[in-house]
């Protein structure tokens, strides 16, 4: 019998399984939730006997990814559909020695250009240039109440040594869905 809003739980499970997802969350991102996710991931990596160096990198990148979600959900939360818009998705997976962190959240269409410009700029820089850029933004950049004022993405790119993969999916004339995929692997 067709139940249009019946969730196919197995389908979701199976997709996650095939993508080696260790942990996922969909919903409102709160401060307490971040604390819990970080603690769970720290324990998991401990149990998996992950190398200390890798553990630190993954933890650092997770903090930045999750806090980005936390701070930027507010911006799109006003007005109609605020419940839906405050919600985000987060997943972390591990394939062999490589971790992948995925985040997804709504973004106001008017903010896409600015974010895309920043991401492309970060992706265009070499390791050495990222270091200089980081110091410049750290020293001169405006600190916002909502975080490091753009340092997060630079820091992620610096620590992972990988390009930031992203996409903006058209939803309607107000919002789009922004997805980010960060890879963390042992360098050198």
């Amino acid at each position: 019998m067709g139940k249009p809003f019946m969730v196919d739980v197995f389908d979701i499970y199976d997709k996650m399984e095939r993508n080696n997802i260790l942990l996922s969350f969909k919903g409102e991102i709160t401060s307490d939730l971040l604390t819990s996710i970080l603690q769970i991931m720290e324990n998991k990596m401990e149990n998996m006997q992950e190398e200390p160096k890798m553990k630190k990198k993954v933890y650092n990148v997770l903090v930045e990814c999750l806090q980005n979600l936390y701070h930027h959900l507010d911006e799109t939360a006003e007005g109609e559909n605020s419940e839906k818009v405050r919600s985000a998705i987060f997943m972390i997976g591990k394939l062999e020695t490589k971790y992948s962190i995925f985040t997804g959240n709504y973004i106001l269409n008017e903010n896409i250009h600015g974010l895309k410009t920043r991401l492309d700029e970060v992706n265009s820089l070499s390791k050495e240039e990222l270091k200089e850029y980081y110091k410049k933004v750290l020293n001169n950049g405006e600190m916002s109440l909502k975080g490091g004022g753009g340092l997060g993405m630079i820091d992620i790119a610096r620590k992972t040594g990988e390009k930031l993969e992203y996409n903006f999916l058209d939803i309607d004339n107000k919002v789009s869905f922004f997805t980010l995929n960060i890879k963390v692997s042992q360098q050198q």
Binding site: P52, K56, E64, Q67, K135, L138, D155
Partner: protein, 126 residues
């Protein structure tokens, strides 16, 4: 006030600032969502200390993790210390990092490049 001290939490470091002894210690994790709020009392304590600084001021920073939101606040703390250093108190910042933590060493070197205060990179065996 001759001492400013707070306990660490899973998201914030322990801070101990002995204004009479001229010793400031920051230890643990600094990953709060709102770093400005967390660091404000320390910045205020440093402002008070500026006018009554000891001949030497020792700063020990031993962080396991810090987020980019904290990195700005830590820079603000170091800028206060730079002012205190210029004012005549010999400030030394001991930046501790764990043996395998190159990211933390690099973070210390970033500050060293920005702040005009003697930095010592101190390796901690795990």
């Amino acid at each position: 006030m001759d001492k400013y001290a707070i306990e660490g939490t899973p998201k914030t470091p322990s801070i101990s600032f002995d204004l009479n002894g001229g010793v400031l210690e920051i230890k643990g994790r600094s990953i709060p969502e709102n770093s400005i709020e967390f660091y404000k009392p320390l910045v205020d304590a440093l402002d008070k200390y500026t006018s009554a600084a000891k001949p030497a001021t020792t700063v020990n920073v031993q962080l396991e993790y810090f987020n980019t939101s904290s990195s700005k606040c830590i820079l603000d703390v170091f800028k206060k210390l730079e002012g205190i250093h210029k004012g005549g108190s010999a400030v030394t910042i001991n930046w501790h990092y764990e043996e395998d933590d190159e990211d933390m060493l690099e973070a210390g070197e970033d500050y060293q490049a920005i702040i005009n205060v003697p930095f010592k990179m101190v390796m901690v065996a795990e």
